[in-house]
């Protein structure tokens, strides 16, 4: 087989794919055409449900397109799927590993399946294990690896035979920033050393900037293809950073969001990042009349700005929470949540070790960390779902695990994944939670009406919760958690898997609640969301690495090379420091 080096490794022509699920047809891909040139990393970027996985599966012949043609490595992906599948490397979501096999056994299996000759194995294994840092763990069961290690093992399995085309489906989802960074390093190393071509899908918009080229997918349509810089260049001159004295950054964001000419306002540290409508220059008088000391500074656009500019439609509502009768006496500075030397063991494993922090009334407090850092365990102990093995904790003065059931009336809870009743309609769900919180007849009707209006759920009242679009599921969960007007809100990974626009809407509502005096405890693995928090702790391996405001966190990572570090930089810096300390302890 002769292929000229510059021929595209993957060609899609007018590809259309429709799935029929529960009566209604869903167009997963609509008339998608593109070429991918060899020897580079192409990012397939889009929020959940954009059609990324479908596209990946089509590329390796796992699905047949409704119409259109696909060719991979010069082969027809439909007619010659067996050859395509033998030639490409593919890592599906959740990595395709056997959790009950050890690292070595997984490697052996895939080496056998991919026909890697026996004599080459030893060298390749060593290479890959070294590169992924898995060398010390070859005897461990894959199921007992951390998320980041699983992801690297999955990658190693796909790389065993150094394929010419590597397809990675959401390799970075749910993985901590350090592991993400390492994954990117491995991918680029392969591209450089082996001349591999890589197609990688991701829902993280910030990862777009790490690709040579980007395919932007939204609701099954290809919105554009090009270098990340080309996307951001389109919004050059529309991006600004605004800061003002004498106003909290949350109030600042709320005001800017409603200001004329502003398409999007996003809290970024102590400042607010603006995306302006085209051809409109922001001035302090227009944006923030009546405020002194307003600084407006143009900044370089990012990929996310381009995404927002492309898709956001300005609507003139505010994040109105009208009708929330919050009876909170705002004794400022009162500590509502106290955690002191909290400890939780599962057998020999210490999931949460000596964690302490306090949350004041009306604060948005963040728990940041990778999967497995102990965030969710801490969270569940606070909500009374799990007893602590040691230490003290109180929420509104009580330990919810032993307090009377009535005490839980003060808190609202939104779980990590969608956890309302999928078989019940939106209305039935709302009514059930209203009754569970003891709201009676008239009051219940009133609150259900409030939820439907505030969260714009009217069109979906009789739809089963399971069949809601992702963004609406999140709204419904949020609404259910607010039915009884709680004073304290627990939000566990509320925005994971939600597209950037829905995330903005969510944070706008949360901001409004905090302004009204509700205390919010939130966990997230989106580092940039830490900027919405008043204060936060960063956790790793069950311990608190650092506590403070977002600005303090970032200040720690400031170096000469990186004068304006992001939250992610700060996080990675903390992890590195910790590892150094550990290493030094071992030496000592």
């Amino acid at each position: 087989m002769i292929t000229i080096m510059d021929n595209p490794v993957l060609i899609f022509r007018n590809v259309r794919q429709v799935f029929t699920r529960a009566e209604h047809a869903l167009c997963a891909l609509d008339d998608v055409s593109f070429d991918i040139i060899p020897g580079q990393v192409t990012g397939l970027i889009g929020p959940d449900g954009a059609g990324k996985t479908t596209l990946m599966r089509l590329a390796c012949g796992l699905l047949r397109p409704e119409s259109g043609t696909i060719s991979a490595l010069g082969l027809d992906a439909v007619a010659e799927s067996q050859i395509v599948q033998s030639a490409v490397g593919y890592m599906p979501q959740r990595f395709g590993l056997y959790e009950d096999l050890s690292v070595q056994e997984n490697l052996d299996l895939y080496a056998e399946l991919q026909g890697l000759p026996q004599e080459k194995r030893a060298i390749r294994y060593t290479e890959l294990m070294h590169m992924t840092g898995l060398a010390p763990f070859t005897a461990r069961l894959a199921g007992q690896l951390s998320g980041g290690m699983k992801q690297k093992l999955g990658l190693a399995c796909a790389l065993l035979r150094a394929p010419r085309l590597l397809l990675l489906d959401e390799p970075t989802v749910g993985v901590d920033p350090v592991s993400r960074r390492e994954l990117w390093a491995i991918v680029y190393q392969q591209v450089k050393e082996q001349g591999m071509s890589v197609l990688l899908s991701t829902a993280y918009l910030d990862e777009a900037e790490r690709c040579n080229e980007v395919l932007l997918l939204h609701q099954g349509k290809l919105l554009g293809q090009g270098a990340p810089a080309e996307f951001s260049a389109k919004v050059q001159g529309r991006i600004f950073q605004v800061s003002a004295a004498g106003i909290s950054h949350r109030q600042l964001q709320t005001r800017l969001d409603q200001a004329p000419g502003v398409l999007d306002a996003l809290v970024e540290g102590e400042t607010v990042r603006l995306v302006m409508e085209p051809e409109i220059q922001p001035t302090a008088e227009n944006l923030l009349p009546g405020l002194d000391d307003v600084h407006i500074q143009p900044v370089a656009p990012r990929f996310e700005d381009a995404f927002v500019a492309r898709l956001k439609v300005r609507h003139n509502g505010t994040a109105d929470l009208g009708g929330m009768n919050l009876h909170i006496d705002s004794r400022d500075g009162e500590e509502v949540i106290r955690v002191h030397k909290l400890l939780r063991r599962f057998g020999d494993f210490i999931a949460v070790n000596n964690v302490s922090f306090n949350v004041k009334r009306g604060e948005i407090f963040g728990l940041l960390g990778a999967n497995g850092a102990g965030k969710t365990t801490t969270f569940r102990m606070l909500c009374g779902l799990l007893p602590a093995s040691g230490g003290e904790l109180s929420v509104a003065g009580l330990d919810l695990h032993i307090a009377r059931a009535e005490a839980r009336r003060h808190i609202g809870y939104m779980a990590q994944k969608f956890s309302l009743y999928g078989d019940l309609s939106v209305m039935q769900n709302l009514r059930f939670f209203a009754s569970a919180y003891g709201l009676r007849s008239d009051h219940q009707d009133e609150r259900v009406k409030w939820a439907i209006n505030t969260f714009e759920l009217a069109d979906y009242g009789e739809t089963n919760a399971r069949d809601l679009p992702l963004g609406f599921k999140q709204r419904l969960s949020f609404a259910a958690a607010l039915m009884h007007e709680p004073e304290i809100l627990f939000l566990d990974e509320p925005t994971s898997g939600v597209d950037p626009l829905a995330r903005r809407e969510f944070w706008a509502r949360t901001n409004a609640l905090a302004e009204a005096g509700v205390t919010v405890l939130v966990t997230t693995h989106f580092m940039e969301e830490a900027n919405y928090c008043d204060r936060l702790v960063i956790m790793a391996e069950g311990t608190v690495l650092a506590e403070g405001t977002p600005r303090e966190m970032k200040a720690r990572a400031r170096t000469v090379d990186n004068p304006d570090p992001s939250m992610e930089d700060a996080f990675i810096r903390l992890i590195e420091q910790r590892e150094q300390n550990n290493a030094m302890e071992i030496v000592a």
Partner: protein, 373 residues
Amino acid sequence: MSASLRRLWGMIRKESLQILRDPSSISIAFIMPVVLLLLFGYGVSLDAKNIPLGIVIEQPDTAAQSLAGAFDRSEFFHPQRFAAIQEAQQALIERRIDGILWLRNDFSSRLLSGDEAPIGVFVNGVDSNQANITKGYIQGTWLAWLQHFSAARGRALDLPVSMEQRVWFNPALSSHLFLVPGLIAIIMTMIGSLLTAMVVAREWERGTMEALMVTPLRMGEMLIGKLIPYFMLGMGGMLLSVAMALFLFNVPLLSPVWLLMLCSALFMLVSLAIGLLISIVTRNQFLAGQVALVVSFLPSFLLSGFLFDIHSMPGWVQTITYLVPARYFVAILQTLFLAGPVWPVILANAGAMLFMLLILATLVVKKSYKRLD
């Protein structure tokens, strides 16, 4: 080794390791058979012994006592005496006894005068099968006593026609001799269809199937790679059950072991094919389990002739039984164990299984392609 064999070997090794590490596979293959065999071997018995029988003797004289004594000595009965029929009937109503033998006060006088002396017999008919068996035992005991009684008086009993029965294969007519071999079919169905369907469906659910597909592995290699380890597992379960049947329940095996193994292997393949087909169609563990239960487990229990005689089912139910592979295997098992290698039975039933296997294998191959749609 060719590339294809290498891939096959990789799959077999992987499956075997997974079986060894998954406690549920091991327990379904080895603990379930033991539990089921013990439960059925000891718990399910159609052999009535010590039937509680009420005997009412209104006039206790020698003739009546001698008849009652015959029942006392029988291992089938556990008689209780009642003074009056009303008491006995009350006991029958209260389920304390299953039957009544009523000797009225004129029993002896009529017997000795040559008048026909009637004995009233009541049985609780709720459990009709048990009632039939009780009836049979009462008749048998009564006839034996009658012969003895007549002989003692120097004249043979004049029964125009008497039955001389010879029971082949299971002379003691003990029910576990046919239940235990039949159970082996049920156990193999569980391993072959239920376990395999769920395990293969798990690959779909966990997304590992996707990773396997995008390798040079061919579908045929994957299927064979899955079949071999589960085949071994199923045969292991079978051998365990056979060993228990032979040594714990003392069921005789009148055929060569190789023939039993060969027939079991054929049935195992049919079960595996059903399991694979279910998993390919459902691709979901929960659903696969449900479907396997309904299309494979329940029919092999009810419609295989394991417990209930197929011949006596209504015509339409009998027609359905032809679609149940366990039907053929149960017939083979009962024959191999109790009757010996009766070739016509074995060949006909094995032929039917082979035919089913070919159809199922064709379906499996047709339905399995390296695509997700």
